[in-house]
Amino acid sequence: MEWESVIGLEIHAQLATKSKIFSSASTAYGAEPNTQACAVDLGLPGVLPVVNKEAIHMAAKFGLATGSNVSRHSVFARKNYFYPDLPKGYQISQFELPIVEKGEMEIELEDGSTKIIGITRAHLEEDAGKSLHEDFHGMTGIDLNRAGTPLLEIVSEPDIRSAKEAVAYMKKLHSLVQYLEICDGNMAEGSFRCDANVSVRLKGQEELGTRAEIKNINSFRFVERAINFEIDRQIDLLESGGEVIQETRLYDADKDETRSMRSKEEANDYRYFPDPDLLPVIIDEAYLEDVRKTLPELPKEKRERFISEYSLTDYDAVILTGSRDLADYFESVVQQSSGDAKLAANWVIGDLSARLNKEDISIDQSPVTADMLASMLKRINDKTISGKIAKDVFNAMWSGEGDADTVIENKGLKQITDNSAIEAMIDEIIASNPQQVEQYRAGKDKVFGFFVGQVMKASQGKANPAQVNEILKQKLSS
């Protein structure tokens, strides 16, 4: 039997507002428990929510950037359920009338083709607090610092067909929200997390299979693993004559498995209804026009511009526009060096990215800043150093030995471009290797490499390679 998996993602992006969605308390991460929870966040008797305009603005930005319909009239609704870290006994969310509807994201698949994933809706809601079970001697501690933090829940259509596509879609969204500066994308702190709805059906079958929802997956790697595990589990179940039940499951990263949390029967009836404490959110054309003006260049536009403006390959452009920080870094390097975009792209995608990956740090934490890399590239272009020597300079800069010029100066890495000096070295090498000269002149071209190596060795890698080639050819054939 051939199976097809059907996946939809619900992504919670924490909006980067300074204060909470319905109160003026700070949203900063990591404060002492309950120091960032005001009367409104605590759900004290008599308090009322007031919506944060910045959160509305950010949601509208997201809507425009995904070609969605930004609702002219959206409504906050109460989702009622009891939980100790939910202070009011309800979460203020949006239900029937969300602020964003019907958008799409284009993802690139591994074979190089693209696919459109539909965005059903994106709605605003408040986050809950945290229950802490350790250090309380069998009791539970409640930290309400996170309560009321604004979230944008982005719900996809069930258009995703594999764990890899799911990750591609999630990465794409992750990049977009950071481009838009509406979410810091910090997955370790829970700023960007995902629930996955997974079902399987026989290939060709129209009807959807019963789905399971996997809750709160907070890394790309875990999303891929959790979904793959779940697909296999469901197929095994069906092939052995079992039945998938509709339920909520948790992914356990340590055991690399999903397990049941609650079944549909145990699910809450949330009794959604419009929150009478809040007015409908009304958005008009003029407001949207203002929001549109604040939109940055989006990844797709940027990619196309990089290809046309910098003559980059499609591949390079995709990588460089993968995150706004990376793209900004690249452009800054190009502008500050002599405009050799291809060289800059090679360095950013090559040595720099490799090093960042190895050390597991982000581009804004790179010890080699765009300025530093740009001035090094200038030294390559003006032939002060060769590309090979540049690798040493880069490593030295990375370890904090100063900028390119300082490193070149201190380590004496300046390239030798004086023809007569190179000629002298070559003469000596030809003189001391008569056998190889014979071979070369007898037509054994490979030996040429030997001579280049000898010159570079003698010059400690500093001789200009182009000049070395030229002079060697001349001398050997004369």
């Binding site: 009367a39 605590l42 759900g43 004290l44 008797p45 008599g46 308090v47 009322l48 929510p49 007031v50 919506v51 109460r78 009622n80 009891f82 100790p84 202070p87 009011k88 006994g89 309800y90 409640i142 009836d269 009794r271 959604y272 209804f273 009478p276 404490d277 809040l278 007015l279």
Partner: protein
């Protein structure tokens, strides 16, 4: 004898220096001590704070910077959060609750220099029409202590009627200011929804709740509303609209005023004695030059059923925060989370509150939402449209505030529907968000009868003018029960 004076009269005495705020405050505190043991109109009396506020008020008066309300004693319904003072909402659930903040209304009254004598009794979480659902015991009607004062602002109404305080605040979700005002023979105003901030007022039904003044006269209510009203950025449903001086139009004459009498308000459910009093009051208005027009509010019969879907639905959600976790009552030794929830709520909420939470939860449940909540919202719109249409032809609408006079304590407790029907004339006004006032218009079987006047949105000035003119030519509002003279 200060207690027989209206707030406006006391204000003059304070300004002229004939009495100090401390003296006034002491006099009223003394009356509360003497007379409230039986009435039970106060939950908390804040003697020390009151005397301190009075002293501060006297200083302000001496400094010549006093306003009209500076130094006037009054009481807050125990639904308004008061910092460092117990705010119980009439419930065992909040018997231990000390609010860390002041409600906006409390702030505003303090800023006006008023002196809070204490917090008045009320139906638990404002759910009731007789003040019998209070955890602190029923309040008695000063006109007959066998009878209820009405509710939910029963403590405020009784304390003003007994002249234990010149004025009090109340809240009105379906008639909770106007019905007890009517049953106790005082003046009570429910402003337009959004006119007074709800911040710090413990929510019953958010889309209906509105705070307002309760006092002897319309003039007093106007002075109090001047202090209470206004936009509050902490309440998204409060309206950004300038607050006029509500005393400015009090003396306009009523010649040519068009009064609508909805025929549905004079139907079979109305007590004959009450009907007679209302007829006389209408005659009085005619004599003052008003034109009487019969109108129809055809969806009146839907108001009570619609209200008893909408209000419980909202309350079932509003009261979820009382879960024994962060504040309020917590059961002893909970076994687990579910036990904590069930017993804390089960032990601390009274029967009427539980009934409404159950009804509301049901109305919002999957499969019932469309049939109940959604349908109720549609009907609410129709009820509102009735009023819009009526105000195209009339300036104000008049009728009884309640179908009968105060009933006996215990008389309706076993029959919730008959209790709910005592708000039949007031509820539609909340559903439509309109301002309404109840003023004393006479007596039936020695118990007070209230006349309700309803105006279009934000026409509180007109309402107060119409009420004040009546009170200029009648003495009903100056009547005091014998035991409290």
């Amino acid at each position: 004898m200060f207690h027989t004076k209206t707030l406006a009269e006391l204000s003059q005495l304070l300004t002229s220096g004939e009495v100090s705020s401390v003296e006034l405050t002491q006099a009223f505190l003394q009356r509360i001590k003497q007379l409230d043991t039986d009435l039970n109109s106060f939950i908390t009396v804040t003697e020390d704070q009151a005397l301190a506020q009075a002293q501060a008020a006297d200083d302000t008066i001496k400094a010549g910077t006093a306003g009209l309300l500076t130094g006037i004693p009054f009481a807050h319904k125990d639904i308004f959060c008061t910092r460092d003072i117990k705010t119980s909402c009439g419930s065992k659930m909040l018997d231990n609750f000390i609010s860390p903040y002041d409600a906006t209304v409390v702030e505003k009254m303090s800023q006006a220099g008023m002196v809070m004598l204490g917090k008045t009794n009320m139906d638990e979480f404002a759910m009731g029409s007789s003040n019998e659902t209070s955890y602190y015991g029923p309040v008695k009607n000063p006109w007959n202590t066998q009878s209820v004062p009405g509710g939910s602002s029963g403590g405020s109404a009784a304390s003003v009627a007994a002249r234990l305080t010149p004025a009090a605040t109340g809240t009105d979700t379906g008639g909770s200011i106007r019905q007890p005002a009517s049953l106790c023979g005082i003046t009570g105003l429910k402003p337009t929804y959004g006119r007074v901030s709800r911040y710090g007022m413990i929510a019953f039904a958010s889309s209906l709740d509105q705070a307002g003044p309760m006092a002897q006269s319309a003039e007093d209510c106007a002075l109090l509303l001047n202090a209470m009203a206004g936009f509050d950025r902490r309440d998204s449903t409060s309206i950004k609209k300038d607050v006029p001086d509500y005393t400015a139009d009090l003396n306009k004459d009523l010649n040519g005023l068009k009064i609508g009498l909805p025929k549905e308000y004079f139907d079979t459910g109305l007590d004959a004695g009450v009907a007679e009093v209302i007829d006389q009051a209408i005659q009085q208005y005619k004599d003052m030059g008003a034109e009487i027009i019969e109108i129809s509010l055809p969806n009146t019969h839907l108001a009570v059923p619609v209200y008893y879907v909408v209000a419980p639905a909202e309350c079932s959600s509003n009261l979820s925060r009382f879960d024994g976790v962060r504040f309020g009552y917590r059961c002893e030794d909970p076994r687990d989370l579910e036990d904590l929830y069930k017993r804390s709520r089960g032990e601390a909420f009274g029967a009427e509150v539980k009934r409404r939470i159950m009804v509301g939860t049901y109305a919002l449940s999957a499969g019932y939402y469309d049939a109940y909540y959604l349908k109720a919202q549609q009907l609410r719109r129709m009820i509102s449209d009735d009023f819009t249409k009526a105000f195209e032809t009339v300036d104000v609408i008049m009728g009884p505030s309640s179908p009968g006079t105060a009933f006996k304590i215990g008389e309706k407790t076993s029959d919730p529907v008959s209790m709910y029907l005592s708000d039949i004339y007031t509820i539609a006004v909340n559903l439509a968000g309109l301002p309404g006032i109840s003023i004393p218009a006479g007596f039936s079987n020695n118990m007070p009868v209230g006349l309700q006047i309803i105006a279009n949105s934000f026409e509180e000035s007109r309402l107060l003018n119409v009420a004040h003119q009546y009170q200029q030519t009648t003495e009903w509002h100056r009547q005091i029960p014998d035991a409290f003279i």
